[in-house]
């Protein structure tokens, strides 16, 4: 985090803030150990209400429904990073085979 170039955000910028909702100690006991050993965290987007802020600052935002929240500034207008993935040869060949089978069936051939 500290190696990232410092970016400034200004009032009205769309930003994302981070909050630790519960520390590991505050989490309930009856959850798997790997879950209990890490904090319970949240990320929320909204428009910056502070005049100017740096990544890592505690800031206030106004969310898309007009609520005001505080959190640690983590990013300015983060990218939606989910994607279409790679074409899956295992599936594409399955589709082609099924098509051929129907064609063969229609031509009256035995499978």
């Amino acid at each position: 985090m500290s190696k990232e170039p410092v970016k400034n955000a200004f009032r009205g910028d769309l930003v994302q803030v981070h909050k630790v909702i519960l520390t590991p100690e505050q989490r309930p006991e009856d959850i798997p150990a790997c879950t209990k050993s890490v904090p319970y965290e949240a990320w929320i987007k909204g428009f910056l209400l502070d005049d100017e802020a740096r990544i890592g600052d505690t800031v206030r935002i106004e969310t898309f429904i007009g609520r005001q929240l505080a959190g640690t500034l983590v990013e300015v207008n983060p990218m939606y990073t989910h994607h279409f993935g790679k074409p899956q040869p295992a599936l594409l060949s399955a589709g082609m085979e099924a098509k051929k089978r129907i064609k063969r069936g229609r031509a009256g051939h035995e499978e």
Binding site: T35, W43, I65, R67, H82, A98
Partner: protein, 474 residues
């Protein structure tokens, strides 16, 4: 709000917070710690089926096409025994405003919230339901807050859920992207306290009533087209609402002999609250991690009494593997020209072997599809699986290991369903009911309720109780 927001404190105010946020006094319907007035609770908001249809039509929800899957049916018949291979139809729920049947659930609840004067709605969901609530809230001018379990502790997000974040934000919701954990319920309660908004829980009466139109519509569409009701309807099963609402709608249409089959993706062995297991799943809904616990203990939810009670309606419950669902998704695109989201095709995968059991003149309806987009399609979900150390290969799906190997079938014949013994589930239901309520000796009314709630008989419940060494009234 000056309330103490520590975990124990918020949880201790749970009942009060929920009562305020759903506008229902559940106490009114309680008969005993075990029994409650199910139909009374179901009808407490005063909406009839025609009311629901009218409300849904106003926001463009429902009236989705029923499509005959002619090529898939032909493929199934080519591998069926002589005279076998039922005709497969699919209800294209993708045509709902936000792209899934969840609009039906959200539409009535959000309408109801607006009618009661709430300023906003809150839903804790990582699935299509969030987008549905956000979309309906936009139509009624309400504010929406959607809480999603998205990331593991390394901030690696499930692609399918990241897409839901995007969709919810596109509809104008405030989205909380959270890490793995059951504390989703805690943060929901906290936000309900802070805002005074309505909880659009998946398990309140309006949410399930909203799905009745789906069962009703599909029965009518099949009747109009074929002059008879469907013989079998296959329904993706997670929390039980989809099965419950659809089956009730079928009954209201008069389609009483239709076999109701629930289908879930097999994710046995993966812990739903595990930070490690979280990203080793390729399905975030309609899987056994929800399906089984909800059947054996429906009241495990965010409301005191869950009206989504699958065991009341299921004739059969089957599991399919992740690879089989991806394969079915590919068939639907390549053979029928319908590119749809994988999770919605859980019931289609199950329909392929199930149709082989039916006679050629019998009719099977796959009851939903869902929209597809970046993040929620086989290419992105399988790419993600491989990135998280899950092996993806062609082979026999019986070699599928949830979280370790996804096997794409080599041939359509290899798609099978694994039947879950419903009597076994019913016995677990009785055991869980006794354990969670702590009732040492159930009364006659409790036995009657459990018989009805598990769709078994008084004799079955008595026998199960006696096998647990629990005395029953003579």
């Amino acid at each position: 709000m000056k309330n103490d927001v520590s975990y124990p404190s918020v949880m201790s105010r749970k009942n009060e917070t929920l009562r305020r946020s759903v506008g229902i006094d559940y106490q009114e319907f309680e008969i005993s710690p075990i029994a409650f007035d199910y139909e009374g609770l179901m009808n407490c908001c005063g909406y009839s089926l025609p009311d629901v249809q009218k409300i849904q039509t106003e926001t463009g929800v429902g009236n989705t096409p029923l499509v005959e899957l002619k090529n898939i049916t032909e493929l199934v018949r080519s591998i069926s025994a002589p005279g076998k291979g039922g005709c497969i139809f699919i209800k294209d729920e993708k045509a709902c405003p936000s792209g899934s049947f969840k609009d039906r659930r959200a539409s009535l609840s959000v309408y109801h919230a607006a009618r009661l004067g709430y300023k906003g709605v809150v839903a804790a969901t990582s699935g299509n339901y969030g987008a549905a609530v956000a979309s309906q809230a936009a139509k009624y001018g309400l504010k929406a807050i959607i809480l999603q379990e998205v990331y593991d502790s390394h901030k690696v997000g499930q692609p399918e859920i990241l897409e839901k974040t995007r969709a919810c934000e596109a509809y104008g919701a405030e989205v909380w992207q959270l890490t793995v954990g059951p504390e989703l319920f805690y943060i929901m309660l906290r936000i309900l306290e802070e805002t005074g908004f309505f909880s659009t829980s998946l398990y309140i009466p309006t949410s399930v009533l909203g799905i009745e139109t789906l069962g009703y519509e599909l029965a009518q569409q099949v009747m109009e087209r074929e002059g008879r009701f469907p013989d079998m309807v296959v329904i993706a099963h997670a929390g039980g609402g989809n099965v419950t609402g659809t089956a009730r709608g079928l009954q209201k249409a008069g389609s009483r002999k239709t076999m109701v089959v629930g289908a879930s993706v097999d994710l046995r062995g993966l812990h739903m609250a595990s930070d490690y297991d979280f990203n080793r799943k390729s399905f975030t809904t309609a899987h056994s991690g929800f399906g089984m616990p909800f059947l054996t203990w429906p009241d495990r939810t965010d409301v005191p009494r869950n009206v989504a009670r699958g065991l009341r309606y299921l004739d059969r419950y089957v599991l399919v593997s992740q690879g089989e669902v991806f394969y079915a998704t590919e068939l639907l695109a390549k053979l029928e020209g319908l590119e749809r989201g994988p999770a919605g095709n859980t019931s289609l995968a199950a329909a392929i072997p199930l149709a082989q059991e039916l006679d050629r003149d019998q009719l099977l309806v796959v009851q939903e599809t869902e929209y597809t987009a970046a993040g929620k399609l086989p290419s992105s979900q399988l790419t993600f699986a491989e990135e998280n150390g899950v092996e993806v290969r062609r082979g026999d799906p019986k070699d599928n290991v949830p979280g370790r190997v996804i096997v794409i079938p080599e041939r359509v014949e290899q798609i099978r369903v694994e039947d879950f013994d419903l009597d076994e589930i019913r016995r677990s239901y009785v055991r869980r009911t006794i354990e969670t309520t702590g009732v040492p000796q159930p009364k006659e009314e409790d036995i009657l309720f459990m018989a009805e709630d598990s769709r078994s008989s008084v004799e079955f419940i008595r026998k199960t109780l006696s096998s647990l060494d629990i005395e029953t009234p003579a």
